[in-house]
Symmetry: C2
């Protein structure tokens, strides 16, 4: 509790002097698997705690060329599903003694590549991209420097990166069957102008399934992937005669906006007049006002997998791994007409 100390960090040197040992002994005390006698270890530890010593991870990383930092590149952090991913990832990373550096970016490629450069500055071990698509050139740079790039739900198949994504296909197909079995006749897909690979795939597969069953589908893309866009889509669809009676919203957030507008602006009852299926299973989907039938992204399992990529020994590139979403039946779809 030496109060009047210089206003700066304590180095191993100072601890060594105080403990009456060499600096190496201090270093070894704080290095796993190094050889130190119990006696000196105790001397060092007590001196360290008296002085308030903390190993400088910057210097440590300098030597190992590895900083234990993992960068998370993310946009739309306020969006429920993104927040959940960041939450899960940070927890999992901490559990394996890594620390997350989050970089908040607009989705445009320019700011993403600026972000990627930052991760190189700090010699991050890996970069996890949750949104926005990094240009291929930057990915190559990262790889050339021995850094790993993990792309979540943005399978652009950039070679060298590891892609992990939720399986949109089964979900989109199942969504169609749900609506079909509920007796819906006029189907709609509600999407956004974001045109993400994931979103496009959900649109495409749902439409294809409907086609195969001989049913037409109208696709509406209104603004960004937000609550407001869900509202806007509803206005476009129900403003004219004969709106849909079954809608697959590629995101819960869109679905919720869509439901709110359908109910409050057009007086529709859900699920009697209109069935809605979402995707993500955000917390709000389970709120009493919505009780949305949807497909849950296995956020925790995905985060687990990302973390496992960084376990020692696991340096191979698995290229691609998909996770099955879990269907969650609630009340926004009519029970099967029997």
């Amino acid at each position: 509790m030496n109060e009047a100390r210089s206003r700066s960090f304590v180095s191993a040197q100072m601890v060594a002097e105080r403990a009456g040992v060499s600096r190496s002994a201090v270093s070894r005390t704080f290095t796993d698997g190094a050889s130190v006698s119990e006696a000196t270890r105790r001397k060092v530890l007590s001196a360290a705690s008296e002085l308030g010593y903390h190993v400088n991870h910057l210097a440590r990383g300098l030597i190992h060329d590895r900083s234990n930092i993992v960068c998370l590149v993310v946009s739309d952090l306020t969006t429920a599903i993104r927040a959940r991913m960041v939450d899960a990832l940070t927890r999992r990373l901490q559990a394996i003694d890594k620390v997350a550096m989050v970089i908040n970016t607009e989705s445009d490629t320019e700011s993403v590549s600026a972000a990627l450069r930052q991760t190189l500055h700090y010699r991050a071990e890996a970069t996890v991209v949750l949104s926005g698509t990094p240009p291929a050139s930057i990915i190559e740079t990262c790889m050339a420097n021995g850094q790993r790039v993990v792309l979540i739900n943005r399978d652009d198949h950039l070679s060298g990166s590891e892609n992990i994504a939720v399986d949109n296909q089964v979900a989109a197909r199942e969504a169609f069957f749900l609506l079909q079995r509920a007796g819906c006749r006029r189907l709609a897909v509600i999407s956004s102008e974001a045109r993400t690979a994931s979103l496009l795939e959900r649109e495409r597969v749902f439409t294809a399934a409907a086609d195969a069953a001989g049913m037409a589908v109208s696709v509406t893309r209104a603004g960004p992937t937000s609550y407001a866009s869900g509202i806007e889509a509803a206005r476009r669809l129900f403003g004219r005669s004969s709106g849909p009676d079954g809608a697959f919203c590629v995101t819960d957030l869109l679905a919720i906006g869509f439901m709110d507008a359908a109910r409050h602006e057009f007086g529709l009852r859900i699920p009697e007049d209109l069935c809605v299926v979402g995707f993500d299973d955000i917390e709000q989907a389970n709120w009493e006002s919505y009780r949305l039938t949807t497909f849950a992204q296995p956020v925790e399992r995905m985060a687990d997998h990302v973390a496992s990529l960084f376990e020692p020994g696991n340096s191979g590139v698995s290229e691609r791994r998909t996770f099955e979403p879990t269907p969650v039946w609630r009340r926004s779809v009519r029970p099967t007409a029997s």
Copy 2:
């Protein structure tokens, strides 16, 4: 575009050799305000880009004893208001060339102090605590090492830390007047068991204002600060005879759960049978199903202020700064009975 290079980072040394200059020249090229001729600067820059060189911020930080890293210690990251704070802070920090390291913690003091230790490891310039209260001893350690600690909405008045918080007093008082003017007779405060300084203050001031007006208030604290706790509170209050007709929920999230249960489980109409006032102004408060009257936390302004603390020259401790919340009138409170 030298493809077949060793799988490691490029150092200034390599760039120097390639450019035919000394390593110092490379260093100076990437240091603001250093003196380099235009000719060598160009040679260096082109060599650097060919090799894919990136300044090692770890080494740079090692010299300056300052890493440009700011740690955000946060829990409940999935909560809308927290996500917004993290979003705003990361953006602001990036704008001033700092990078955010987020540490996800349970709110208990033990994990918070573990988090604080992490920030010391990485020589973070400052630590911003968004939730959970760090023990005073750790704060002292941080300060002794020249690190700054900023506490947001957790004014525990730990000496040495900078506290920034929203002004709960005016809001809580105004909340009471709103309900009073709406003609509510039986008032309730809906809170949580978290017992945060902020939350307690909102309860206290609201109750005091009601007392002063000669009205009784019942306080309900059910579980953590969540949607489910709002529901639980409603069940407790409306399960017995004569529930409240005006409620101040210390958080929008609680308010929304409360509203949902009141409407769907007890058939109450809002605002006709029950008026509700929230706090935070999260995005969901503006959703069509709720349209909650509430008080907006000036998240962006607060983040701005935090960032300004780190501007060069600003090293003084201002101790405490509060921000006025903005009232947002929507439809969960009856218009004044005239």
